[in-house]
């Protein structure tokens, strides 16, 4: 007996140990792609190609280049500004191109004149990269004469942002920085990108927050890739977020209302037999697989003119999903019928019964249906992809797919947009994890 107990204790302990070990292993494996995506999104364009890939992004460098113009004679303010803008663009794009491996995430350019700081401009690496990939310098070589051709450098400066004041800017040249890049920078600038001013100093410091700042530019990136779409040009990636919210929000509202009405009628007004028939009718519609309906559906929608507009995206949610009707019905059946009888005796109409008795009681089921709709449909891709040609209509899933198929898009930007997409969902699901679990379990338990 005693021996048996020891044996069983041992096997129980072994199981516990295995459970903890393997569960944590699974958790780690599951989190790895997410962590990897997050770290990739913070790497710069050169480091994502590192072999083997590192789990942590490198430290971000911020460098400050100080140029002095005291030796030059300027005719007027305009000429001075012009010269400084030219130097600014040469420095920024030249260093971004030539020192791509050095994790320089930020470049400050200061222009000084007779002891005063008159010009300052600051650019993040991703900003420069986007101008090179899709913007003003799209598909052009990064050479001095190309950079300064025509009025390109002016447009680039406007896009990056700068301040200029002959009376001196209220900022001083930063001091006390490290000096690791001076030789490289002076070499590159003197050989490839001749400047008008003279290079005074090149300071650098570590500023890791810059890795996170990349996200700001990832969100703007769609407006560079699709400049011809007005919404995207204005709101960037948020266009897709808003589209997704519109579609999934409509789906949730439509399902909550439609299914509750149907379930109310089935549960309270119809006989058992007729109710089952109607329920089967709705369930059957839901079981039709999308793959076999997509083609006739598309032909029908195109005939109705529901193509490439919001109607095409929203219309598929305008019928009650049989399974949600079923869940609702199960809930309404449990409401004591004495409530309804009492109200009916007082001459209450069906509308009254539905709005004043059923609905106030069914808060838990409403949240359950809304969550179910969200889980089931926010991942929809194919239909939204088939019916939208216009980029302004893309939902998140479609947009991410199309952006990832765009050859020019760098992996770090893709990962960054992915992280932006999933972070709110992950946070919400942690916040509402209890309701989420209940709703999933309820969906699986068919009494």
């Amino acid at each position: 007996m005693n021996k048996n107990k020891i044996k069983c204790d041992f096997s129980e302990r072994l199981l516990k140990f295995c459970a903890v070990f393997f569960s944590l292993l699974f958790a780690a494996l599951m989190l790895y792609p997410l962590i990897f995506a997050f770290s990739s999104s913070m790497k710069d364009n050169a480091k994502i190609y590192d072999i083997p890939p590192k789990l942590l992004p490198d430290a971000a460098n911020s460098i400050s280049v100080v140029l002095d113009y005291s030796d030059l004679n300027f005719m007027n303010e305009e000429e001075m500004k012009d010269v400084m803008m030219q130097d600014n663009i040469s420095t920024m794009f030249g260093l971004n191109y030539k020192l791509a491996d050095s994790s320089i995430m930020e470049i400050h350019v200061y222009g000084t004149y007779k002891g005063k700081t008159v010009f300052h401009s600051r650019a993040h690496q991703m900003k420069l990269q986007m101008e090179r990939d899709y913007g003003i310098y799209a598909s052009s070589a990064i050479k001095s004469n190309v950079l300064l051709h025509g009025d390109r450098y002016k447009r680039a400066c406007e896009s990056i942002g700068y301040t200029f004041d002959t009376n001196g800017l209220p900022l001083s040249v930063p001091t006390g920085l490290e000096n690791n890049f001076f030789n490289d920078v002076s070499h590159i600038l003197s050989e490839k990108y001749p400047l008008n001013g003279s290079l005074v100093s090149v300071g650098n410091k570590i500023k890791n927050i810059l890795n996170l700042e990349s996200f700001k530019y990832y969100l703007q990136m769609p407006s560079y890739i699709y400049p011809e779409s007005e919404h995207i040009a204005k709101y960037g990636f948020m266009t897709f977020v808003i589209n997704s919210i519109i579609v999934i929000g409509f789906a949730m509202i439509a399902q909550v209302i439609l299914c509750s009405i149907c379930a109310f009628v089935i549960s309270r007004l119809l006989s058992r037999k007729a109710g089952n028939f109607v329920l089967l009718f709705f369930m059957g519609a839901m079981m039709i697989p999308f793959a076999s309906i997509m083609l006739p559906q598309l032909i029908m929608y195109q005939k109705m003119g529901a193509y490439n507009n919001y109607t095409a995206l929203l219309l598929p949610f305008l019928y009650p999903y049989g399974f949600y009707v079923y869940l609702y019905k199960g809930f309404f059946d449990k409401i004591p019928s004495s409530y309804f009888e009492a109200a009916s005796l007082d001459g209450a109409s069906n509308l009254y019964l539905y709005t004043k008795i059923c609905m106030p009681l069914s808060k838990p089921i409403i949240s359950l249906i809304a969550l179910q709709t969200f889980i089931g449909n926010w991942n929809d891709f194919f239909w939204a992809w088939m019916v939208t040609e216009d980029q302004n209509l893309w939902t998140l899933n479609v947009a991410l797919y199309n952006i990832s198929n765009n050859m020019g898009t760098k992996q770090n930007a893709l990962m960054g947009l992915s992280i932006v997409t999933i972070t709110p969902v992950i946070l919400l699901s942690i916040l509402f994890s209890r309701q989420l679990k209940q709703s999933i379990i309820a969906s699986g338990v068919k009494e």
């Binding site: 096997s11 699974f26 190609y49 679990k437």
Partner: protein, 299 residues
Amino acid sequence: MKQDIFKISSSSSTLRRRLAPWCILAIPMACTIWLKYYPIFNAFYISLFKYDPINPPGKFVGLENYIGMFQMQYYWEAWKNSFVFLALQLSMCFFIPLIQALLLNELIKLQKCLTTLYILPALIPTSVNIIIWKWIWHPEYGIANQILNFFGCQPQAWLSDPNLVKFCIIFPGVLGGGLTVLLYLSAIQRISSDILESAALDGCTGFSKIIHIILPNISFMISIQAIMCVITTMQFLDAPYMYASGGPSGASTTQGIFIFNAFNQDLNYGRGSAASIILLLVIGILTLIQMHFEKTEKE
């Protein structure tokens, strides 16, 4: 109870009471017919024609579309691909959520936070998953080849290799998670404690408890999930399309992609509709089997 209410009401309003529910239901039912049932009949109708989108429906050809389709090698390859996907899914991924749920059941403190973690894969959109995994499978910079390199194997082309593409598409499921874990877990936790206690008294603990007590008690859930797995794999569309657009050389073309290509590339609406109808029949039969299972379990 309901009958009592009817009796109280006067006979003239009885008809109104009977009709009222159907009037309310008319709109949702009409929408369902319009958006779901009508397209299916329409698909069958189109499949009988050599469909001409400009002046529909074109020339009536009877079952010629079906016969022509059955003679296509590409069509049967799409079915073969579906079955290979299914075999991979069942052998590689199907049991992972079950194992995870069995292990979770043994945990006490970690259970809550790990179940939340296990839901996450279900909420991550396919496009995000694909961006991450395409990078992992990348022939030059991906981790997959780095790992092969570490063990001294030859690097592979992964998603560009017709022999490996199916494996690459299914593999992300090996990490498990998803809603199924929760369904299994809730099924396990609904096993009555009497059974578990009496088993413990008989010395049935640890792994033998899992094998002899828990698994037989949730076998119903496992068979339902198996059929669900078959049904979803037959409809496989988003993932193979987004990973490899049905390629390379048609190696990841499933039924859904076949239908889409018939319409999108060949502009052959008739053949696409014929394939839709066949797929509907297959899935309909599988669904009936599933319903039969659920019914027998209830009794």
